[in-house]
Amino acid sequence: MYPEDLKYTETHEWIRVDKDIGTVGITDFAVEELTDIVYVELPSAGGKVIKGSSFGTIESVKAVSDLNSPVSGEVLEVNEELSRKPEIITQDPYSKGWMIKIKIEDLTELDTLMDAEKYKEWVEKEEEH
C-alpha cells in the first residue's frame, strides 16, 4: 500500500527521487479519504514550489484540498492528463497518477520526510482520530 522506494509527507504526498529530480503524487490513503476525485489543479512547468506550501488543489465531491510540496524547487513537468482524467489518480496513485516533477533545490530537505514504515504508523495514528 505504501511503496518502500518513496518518501512521504504528513499531508499525504509522496515523492520518488531520481538523482535531483523528484516525482510527486498523493498516497493511497489520501485517495481513499478524498473519495471521488473530480478535479485537480496543478501549476505550470517553470514555476517554483516551496516545501510545505501549496502547489495545487485537488477537488473531490466532498471538499477541495491543498496539495503540498514535499520539497522546494522548480516544476519541470506536469501530468497534463490528470486535468482531463482525474480518475487516474484513484486508479493508480503511485505511477500513472503522478502530478509534478520537481528539480530539487536542496537534497537535505528529503531527510525531513518519512519512509514507508514511518508513514504507515502516521496513517494508523490519523485513522484513530
Binding site: 489543479e41 473531490s60 477541495v64
Partner: protein, 448 residues
C-alpha cells in the same frame, strides 16, 4: 405597539443569573470605558401602530417619485420600463419568501429560476458560464479582479479611468490592502481609454486589464484593440457592460473577454434607493472553478428526471473556509429572478427594441441639447444611452433649476473628474418620451 419580542425585567434577571454576571453593563466590560455612551439615548417614547403609520407616511413624503419626476440621471442606476409581469411573478410568495436553496429536494422552483437566469445571462453575454449573481456591479467587478489574481498570481491591475469612479473605489478597497495588489489607472483620450498609455503601462506582471463598455462617460471603448493588448502580455481581459446595451452591441464573449460582469439593475429591477442591485458575473469555462459565488447545475434524480442542485459548492466558504474562491457564497436571488422574468418577457427582439429606443432617443436629446448656444458634447466618439455635455453654466446650478421643473438632471462629472467640472452626464432610456425630452430642452434654453 405590542412588544413582539418581550424582554421583561424578570427575564433579564434570570438570564444574568444564569451566566453569572451582575448587570447588563458587565457584558460590555471588554469595550474601553471612553467609548461608552455617557448620555442617555435621546429617543422619543414608543408610538401606537396607527401613530407609527402616520409618522412613516409623513417621512415618506420627503421622497420624490419617478411617477412624478422625469429622470435624465444614469451613471450606474437606470430608469428603464418594467413590465407588470416582472412584479407579478417575482412577488409570488413561493419566490418572495423562500430561503436559500440548500435543500435541493425542497427548492426545485427557486433552483430552476436561478438556472434559467444563468442560462439567459450566458446567452446575452455570449460567455460560457454565469454564476447565480453577486451583490452589485461594483463588487462583481472587484471579484473579477480577484479571480484574475488567483489565476495568474500577478500583482498589477490596470483599471481604465473611464470605469465608474465608485467601482474603482470598491476594487481598490477589495484588493489593495488585503491582497497587496497595486492598481494603476489608465487615462483617457476623447472619452475612451488611451491605448498608447495602456501599451505603455502593461507588462509581464499585469494580472488583468479592466474596462467598462459603454464606459462611464457613455462612450464605446475600442474593445477589440484592448483585447489584443491585454492578451499579448498574458493578462486577463475583464469587461463590465450594461446588459441592456447588449441588445445592440457585440457581447463580451465575442471579443474574447475572460471575465464579463455588469450591473443588472437595469434588467427589471427598480432603482431601489441605490440597492439591492444585481451583480452579473460571467467567465470562460476554464475559470469555472475560480468563479466566486454559487452556481446552480442541472442533473437527473434517481428516477432519471431532470432536476437542479447547487453545484461546485466545494469552492465555497461554508466548505472551504478561508481558502474559498470568495467571501460571498450567496446571491441576490430576487433581483436575479426579476432579471430572468424581464429577459424572458422581452425576448431577443424586445431587448433589441429597448436598446434601439435608448440609442435613438439618446441621440435625439444630444442633438437637440447641442443646438442650444453654449452646450456641446465633450467627446466625439459613438455613445449608447448616456453622453457627456459641456455646459455654459455650472452643472450644479442646472440641476437645481431643472429640479424646480420636476426634472432630475444629469450627473455632475466634476465630482470625480476635476478636468470635467463644467460637464454633465445625461442618460436617456426608452422610458423618456419626446415630450419629456423637449421639456428638458425648453428648460435648458430658458437658463441661457
Amino acid at each position: 405597539m405590542i412588544p413582539y419580542i418581550p424582554n421583561t425585567k424578570e427575564d433579564q434577571k434570570r438570564m444574568l443569573e444564569e451566566i453569572g454576571v451582575e448587570s447588563i453593563d458587565d457584558l460590555f466590560e471588554s469595550i474601553p470605558k471612553n467609548l461608552w455612551l455617557k448620555t442617555e439615548n435621546n429617543l422619543p417614547s414608543s408610538l401606537s401602530e396607527m401613530e407609527l403609520i402616520n409618522k412613516m407616511r409623513e417621512l415618506s413624503k420627503k421622497n420624490v417619485s419617478l411617477d412624478e419626476y422625469v429622470s435624465f440621471l444614469g451613471a450606474g442606476s437606470y430608469d428603464h420600463f418594467i413590465p407588470a409581469v416582472v412584479n407579478h411573478l417575482s412577488a409570488r410568495s413561493e419566490f418572495y419568501t423562500s430561503y436559500t436553496p440548500y435543500q435541493a429536494e425542497a427548492s426545485q422552483g427557486t433552483l430552476q429560476a436561478i438556472y434559467e437566469y444563468q442560462s439567459l445571462i450566458s446567452q446575452l453575454f455570449k460567455m460560457d458560464v454565469s454564476n447565480a449573481s453577486l451583490y452589485d456591479g461594483a463588487t462583481a467587478l472587484a471579484e473579477a479582479v480577484i479571480l484574475a489574481h488567483n489565476v495568474n498570481h500577478r500583482q498589477k491591475v490596470l483599471l481604465a479611468k473611464t470605469i465608474h469612479p465608485e467601482y474603482r473605489q470598491v476594487i481598490t478597497t477589495y484588493i489593495e490592502k488585503t491582497l497587496g495588489l497595486s492598481v494603476v489607472e489608465i487615462g483617457y483620450k476623447d472619452g475612451i481609454t488611451d491605448l498608447a498609455k495602456l501599451r505603455e503601462r502593461i507588462d509581464e506582471d499585469t494580472s488583468c486589464v479592466v474596462v467598462q463598455n459603454p464606459n462611464f462617460f457613455g462612450c464605446l471603448e475600442e474593445v477589440n484593440e484592448i483585447e489584443e493588448i491585454a492578451h499579448k502580455s498574458g493578462s486577463l481581459y475583464i469587461v463590465s457592460v450594461d446588459p441592456v446595451s447588449l441588445g445592440l452591441l457585440i457581447p463580451p464573449g465575442e471579443y474574447n473577454a475572460d471575465v464579463a460582469v455588469g450591473e443588472g439593475q437595469a434588467l427589471g429591477n427598480h432603482l431601489n434607493f441605490g440597492g439591492p442591485y444585481l451583480g452579473i458575473f460571467t467567465c470562460k469555462k476554464e475559470f469555472l472553478r475560480k468563479m466566486p459565488g454559487r452556481i446552480v447545475g442541472e442533473t437527473t434524480d434517481k428516477k432519471g428526471e431532470r432536476g437542479f442542485v447547487l453545484a461546485l459548492q466545494t469552492r465555497e466558504q461554508h466548505i472551504r473556509r478561508e481558502k474559498a474562491t470568495s467571501n460571498i457564497c450567496t446571491n441576490h436571488n430576487l433581483n436575479a429572478l426579476r432579471a430572468a422574468v424581464y429577459l424572458t418577457a422581452l425576448g431577443e427582439e424586445g431587448l433589441r427594441k429597448v436598446a434601439n429606443l435608448c440609442l435613438q432617443k439618446g441621440h435625439y436629446a444630444a442633438r437637440r441639447i447641442c443646438q442650444i448656444p453654449g452646450f456641446e458634447l465633450v467627446f466625439t466618439g459613438p455613445f449608447f444611452k448616456e453622453f457627456s455635455v459641456k455646459c455654459p453654466i455650472s452643472p450644479d446650478k442646472i440641476n437645481k433649476l431643472l429640479w424646480e421643473s420636476k426634472i432630475i438632471g444629469g450627473f455632475d462629472l466634476g465630482k470625480f473628474y476635476p478636468e470635467l467640472e463644467d460637464s454633465l452626464l445625461l442618460c436617456v432610456t426608452e422610458k423618456r418620451t419626446r415630450e419629456e425630452i423637449d421639456k428638458l430642452i425648453l428648460s435648458l434654453e430658458k437658463m441661457i
